[in-house]
Amino acid sequence: MLRRMFGLALVSTAMVTLFAACSPSASGLRTIPVSQAETAASPVPATAVALPPAEPIKLAINCGCVQGGDGDNAYRWLTEVVTPRFEGKMREEGKTVHLEVIPGVVDAEALKKQHALDIKARQGADILAFDGFWTPEFVAAGLLKPLDELAGPAVNAWEGWAHIPPPLQAIMGYQGRRYGIAEGTDVRGLWYRKDIFKDVGLPDGWQPRSWDDIFAAARLIQQKRPDVVPLQVIGGTVNGEATTMQGWYPLLLGTGVNVYNFDTNKYTSGQAMIDALNFYKRVYVDEKLGNPRWQLVKGGRDQSQTAFHDGKIAIYAEGDYLWRAVLTEGDTALPNKESLVGWAAMPATAPGKGIRGQDYVTVSGGTGYVINPNTAHPTEAWALMSTMFSKESLDGFQKIEPRIRVRDDVAVPNDPLMTALAKQMLPLTTTRPADPSYPAVSVAIQQATERVIDGEQTPAEAAAAFEKRLTEIVGADRVERSR
């Protein structure tokens, strides 16, 4: 009898523990009823001194980063710089706030799905790491709210806006409203291994003036160093937005056309798309200058980054993310990168043939943070955002990862390459369409590059298939012919 009772007690304890573990509060995520979220937004009267000490507030930030791995720089910034500053600032205001940095998904496509599902289910951390180009899509779906609508007049009174140029405010904005703040912006170009270039007799300070110059260098490397991959231009669906942004977009801009006509708000399709896809065909099918495996197999981008780190790729088309993040974090850190890696601007097909008649082209985006509209503490969440993007915090970030920051009073310290890059490329840059349909269009673009890389379709066939899909997504009235 006693044994049976003991067993029963054990089982019920186990059940209670299980249920407790399954309840939302235990996982660090909260379900917030609408009413509670609304009341929390109302300002607390300043005379509330007589009230008993307030419960400690917990804020969580989903950083989309991993300690010691991808995003380690952001993780260190948030834990070493932001957390002590923010918690200290809150203490000065008489509040006890604990900030929890939740490491998690680093794959951008997976992070986006997680955010969408979390917000839709009225869950998620208070602050979310976010890629700027997702903003219109989330706003159109009603999953994000403007900062000032969430946190009140304190937002527009923030000193920081005066130091963030409007185009950079627009990275995390849509239709003139601000939904978040970007960490910084970026540009893209061609990165090359100086050690391989020396071996084959190419100059340090290499700067191709046309696509043919790129192919000439790659062919030379193919002949003299058959053990390395001469040229890596990212493609395929497995690599997600990186395919569009790092690989395909600079090619298209080099043909003189953007995928979006910002004057008419229409997407473009035509010969320029075929020309850009033809670049992929030359690299992967005709001349075998690149490794198609990395474009088609899951995890290909990571493998190519490791290969570049190991000196197995000569020329690598990427954003400055490669220089400031990949080559400084985790297994792909390259301590002597200054002596091993060089940078060149991405040329147009030929001098003067790029968009706006440019010789060189690039496109910019940016990742940053938004406030989850489900937060129970919008006032504190905004206080956290404004602390994160204060000059002092960003200067602290620059010590960990020097890059182009959004604030004009935050300089790029001790990194001549990043400084030169910003100075030369920012005046030439453009952006992706701020349109809710763009992410779906981007998937169609990735599909087109994949079909060409694996030899399934010719550039003309893939471009025709893209146009058909584009028309399906945005409607025939929003598609116009490019050159």
């Binding site: 899509e137 159109a140 497995v238 088609l296």
Partner: protein, 309 residues
């Protein structure tokens, strides 16, 4: 004949009002967790609903449009089409579930039948370990096993001078078949071992005495006696393999959609780009109908042959 004294009372007790009340909790659970979600999926499949983008806030009814696109004769068998994915799934199920799991499991069970000792214990233990490990752990291990240079398979093949194929690039479907067979053969082996243990040993002893060979015993005695177990096993492994999502962890459906089986195809459609729930739901509905059809075929077979699975 009464089985026990109170039977008459129990019979009265089990008449409709009471029996219905007893069925109710079960029915409610089935209704809430199976029937309602299915109807919900069906409803979404008739819309152009997305989770993000323009069709998230203002969706509309599109009738059978999503289904028409799945079965559009111009695209459905081409790469990225529903038919293409269905055909890949059929290959995957036949090779990895029917041959790889059921047949291999039966062969293992019969080979080890009546044996005792280290070999049997070792095979059983390893097979069960392969079966009970979590999917993500197993997938991670297999990414290492299939690595073109340092993977266990290629190290072994290389040592034998058989070359080092790039499994996940050039033979992705074969790699998935090997993986799924390895993963699930243990279940079939266990099921068949248990069924074999239920055959009276005297049957096989008589067969041996009358001079039957091993193959004859298997074909004429074991197979007919195991018919019920085989049908049950086939039904389970076919349905499990048809719906498994683990291949996604190895190939993501690639390269170039050559391993995009239906589970991955559904995921890609429903969770890529703007999270196209309308089309995703349409695919789910068709997949569910295929599952129902398979289940009905098995049940009909069991009923006709009066088998007791």
């Amino acid at each position: 004949m009464t089985l026990y004294p109170d039977e008459a009372r129990v019979r009265t007790w089990l008449r409709p009002p009471t029996s219905a009340a007893m069925l109710l909790p079960g029915l409610l659970l089935v209704l809430t967790f199976l029937v309602l979600p299915f109807i919900w999926t069906l409803v979404i499949s008739l819309t152009n609903q997305q989770m993000l983008g323009p069709h998230a806030a203002s969706w509309s009814w599109v009738g059978l449009d999503n289904y028409a696109r799945l079965f559009d004769p111009a695209t459905w068998l081409s790469r990225g089409g529903f038919g293409w994915s269905l055909w890949l799934t059929v290959q995957f199920v036949l090779c990895s579930a029917v041959l790889g799991q059921a047949a291999l499991g039966l062969a293992l069970a019969w080979t080890l039948y009546g044996q005792h000792g280290v070999v049997r214990e070792a095979v059983f233990s390893l097979a069960i370990v392969a079966w009970i490990l979590p999917d993500t752990v197993v997938a991670f291990a297999w990414l290492a096993i299939l690595h073109p240079d340092q993977g266990a398979i290629n190290v072994a093949l290389g040592a034998l001078g058989l070359g080092q194929p790039d499994w996940l690039y050039h033979h992705a479907m074969l790699a998935l078949v090997l993986f799924n067979a390895w993963r699930g053969a243990a279940f079939s082996m266990l099921l068949f071992s248990a069924a074999l243990a239920g055959i009276p040993p005297s049957y096989l002893e008589v067969a041996t005495v009358t001079g039957a060979s091993g193959w004859q015993k298997f074909r004429d005695l074991v197979l007919p006696l195991l018919q019920g177990a085989i049908i049950t096993d086939l039904m389970l492994v076919i349905l499990w393999t048809f719906n498994t999502f683990t291949p996604f962890l190895l190939t993501g459906g690639g390269p170039s959609q050559t391993t995009e089986v239906l589970s991955i195809y559904t995921y890609h459609t429903a969770f890529e780009g703007s999270l196209d729930f309308g089309r995703g739901a349409a695919i789910s509905t068709v997949v569910l109908l295929v599952n129902l059809l398979l289940g009905l075929v098995f049940l009909a077979y069991v009923r006709r042959h009066r088998l007791h699975p």
